[in-house]
């Protein structure tokens, strides 16, 4: 029997039982859609995180902290519980180290209130040396309007895009040259003291869209000296170190030198190490998600097998007729397998399409569209991160192959049983 005739016979058999075939296909569709959606979203997420980490923090930087904060990297857990404090002027020590271009201390105070006119937002105030910070993060700490003062006068404020335009609808919270008040509450709950910093907006940063370690859309920046006096501290949260290059050897030697300079009381994380950790976390998550999706496909496969066995009983007589007409066992086998191939191909095609659609829906929900940052005193933690689902050829072909293989593998046994039926017995079957 010709292959085309085998397929059209199989197709006719499927069409006869549309509902049943539809439900069988649905099993494959769901499994494949889940795989495609999960993998394309996580691929997209991975791409955008990688991209943002790369723009947010150049590969030739190290981050020094007292531990905890970035204690993810190998050898980064060296910080202790001693009363070691990272001071702003430690940048001078770090600057002495070979291969260090410069370093910049960062003071970060979350939960500050910023007031402009009647409105108020709650967000993180960051104290940095504008000139150095702009140098390290030249692509992100960049003004969209106004100008970042490299030698700032007192009370200058630089705000992120989401601080200036938190609702993304043209209603500005503040703009260049506006006066703003920053209120920082110190002391205990019952003995709270409000410190107020009055400044004017010198620049609004261009949109970054990231959530990396570097500049953020939803922070307010003030000069480091002002931050020190406003927050009444000489301590900083992190020191960003810019290196001559991003060679592994340089990263290693500078990391060690910094570690040595502070007798192992700081943790040093390189941006490349962060990327590595991120990507390994992602492959694990991806594998896990794919595993879950694969289980759903397995269930679909068992469904196919079940339905084919039922269908085999119903069609015993038909098989008897075919064999009495001289059909060979292998042709009977290929008819049944063709039915599985058709179901598998349709399921995979529909599954990939709907998984792709689902990925876009989910990505849109995640990306937050607009209005992510509610008015009032909540500020968006992460800026509007956009995820674009990515369907790699591997995932596309893999999904197809997987749908097909699952369908065929689970059809093998019923198909084999069908092919082995003896003509007389099959014909006697009621």
């Amino acid at each position: 029997m010709k292959v085309s005739d085998v397929f059209s016979y199989a197709f006719g058999a499927i069409r006869l039982r549309k509902l049943r075939a539809g439900l069988t296909t649905l099993g494959v569709v769901i499994g494949i859609a889940a795989i495609v959606a999960l993998l394309s979203i996580s691929q997209g997420l991975q791409d955008s995180i990688t991209e943002q980490l790369q723009t947010g923090f150049a590969t030739n930087t190290l981050i020094v902290s007292t531990g905890g904060g970035f204690g993810m990297g190998p050898g980064a857990m060296t910080a202790t519980e001693s009363d070691f404090n990272l001071l702003v002027n430690y940048t001078q020590i770090i600057d002495e180290i070979e291969d260090v271009v410069m370093s910049v201390a960062v003071i970060q105070k979350p939960g500050c209130h910023i007031r402009s006119g009647e409105r108020e937002l709650k967000l993180t105030v960051v104290g940095v040396d504008f000139a150095k910070y702009a140098n390290i993060y030249s692509s992100t700490f960049e003004a969209e309007s106004g100008e970042i003062p490299l030698d700032p006068e007192n009370e200058t404020v630089v705000v992120g895009k989401r601080v200036s335009d938190p609702w993304k609808n043209g209603t500005l919270f503040c703009d260049v040259d506006d006066g703003v008040e920053i209120v920082w509450t110190t002391g205990t709950l019952f003995d709270a003291k409000n410190e107020t910093y009055t400044g004017h907006v010198a620049a609004v940063l261009k949109e970054i869209g990231g959530f990396g370690i570097g500049p953020s859309d939803s922070s307010v920046y003030i000069p480091i000296l002002q931050a020190q006096s406003f927050f009444g501290t000489d301590e900083c949260d992190t020191i960003i170190v810019q290196l001559e290059n991003d060679d592994e050897a340089t990263i290693e030697s500078v990391s060690e030198a910094i570690d040595g300079a502070f007798s192992g009381q700081v943790s040093v994380t390189s941006s490349t190490a962060m990327l590595d950790i991120m990507s390994s976390v992602f492959s694990t998550v991806e594998l896990f998600l794919a595993g879950i999706a694969a289980i759903s496909l397995l269930v679909a496969g068992i469904g196919i097998m079940n339905i084919m066995i039922v269908s085999l009983m119903e069609r015993t007589r038909e098989i008897g007729i075919l064999k009495a007409l001289g059909m060979k066992s292998r042709t009977v086998l290929s008819i049944f397998l063709s039915e599985a191939v058709i179901v598998g191909l349709m399921g995979a095609a529909i599954g990939i399409a709907s998984g792709w659609g689902l990925a876009h829906v989910v990505a849109r929900v995640f990306s937050g569209g607009g209005g992510f940052m509610p008015a009032g005193d909540h500020a968006a933690a992460a800026g509007g991160m956009t995820i674009t689902p990515v369907l790699t050829p591997t995932v596309f072909l893999g999904a197809f192959a997987f749908g097909l293989i699952v369908s065929v593998v689970f059809a093998l046994y019923p198909a084999w049983r069908a092919s082995k039926l003896k003509p007389v017995e099959a014909l006697r079957y009621e």
């Binding site: 006719g12 007589r317 007729i321 009495a324 001289g326 060979k328 003896k422 003509p423 007389v424």
Partner: protein, 228 residues
């Protein structure tokens, strides 16, 4: 003398019903020459269908041999048996048509199995359906046809591949006598005009009288042979 189309020698078949052996055939010797029209008569349970299944290569004997055009069927493997079945036109009591296919589809299927091309088999299907008088019903499914018409489709199917011979197992058993005589006329005509070899199992004395030769079976044995 030429080789008989069908020959059985001491053919025996024993079924096991649980632990009880049922001797359906107890040594049948039969010869059918080309162009013959043989009617097999006998009461229910006498082994007629069993004999026909052996000749049609649908089942294997417990003992004895079946020769088709001189070839010992017991020496054939599964694939060769399938090939042989393509050259035998089997007509069943219960028609055994594929319900989802039209009359033409059913006839075409039997030609698609040996790999005949689409246009040829379409042409041939229309031809044989016309021969059995179903020209106007080619696109009807079995459920839309009467019992007599279904049996005609089954006969058309048996004729389509230019079978070496037709085996008919009570082809009129499930249709009314008026339709049955139409079928018999058709079968007689096929034998007379197209020289088709026919072996037909029947209860019907009238049909038997139309045949060239009859054999009488009882308890798995041929007990009487006569030439009309």
């Amino acid at each position: 003398m030429t080789t008989p189309v069908v020959e059985t020698t001491n053919l025996k078949k024993t079924y096991m019903l649980g632990k009880v052996p049922v001797n359906a055939l107890q040594g049948v010797n039969l010869k059918v020459e080309k162009g013959d029209f043989l009617a097999i008569l006998g009461p229910s349970g006498s082994g007629k269908s069993t004999l026909l299944n052996m000749i049609g290569a649908l089942d294997k004997p417990t003992e004895g041999k079946v020769f088709i055009e001189g070839v010992d069927v017991s020496t054939l493997n599964d694939n060769e048996l399938a090939d042989l079945r393509r050259e035998i036109g089997f007509v069943f009591q219960f028609f055994n048509l594929i319900p989802r296919l039209t009359a033409k589809g059913n006839v075409e299927l039997t030609m698609a199995i040996p790999g005949l091309g689409k246009s040829e088999r379409r042409k041939r299907a229309e031809e044989v359906l016309e021969t059995v008088g179903l020209k106007e019903r080619v696109n009807h499914k079995p459920a839309e046809l009467s019992g007599g018409e279904r049996q005609r489709v089954a006969i058309a199917r048996a004729l389509a591949n230019n079978a070496k011979f037709l085996l008919m197992d009570e082809p009129t058993g499930n249709i009314d006598s008026k339709t049955a005589s139409g079928i018999i006329e058709l079968v007689k005509g096929l034998n007379k005009e197209k020289d088709v070899t026919i072996i037909i199992v029947t209860h019907d004395q009238h049909i038997a009288s139309q045949a060239k030769r009859t054999v009488q079976m009882l308890d798995g044995l041929i007990i009487k042979e006569e030439v009309n």
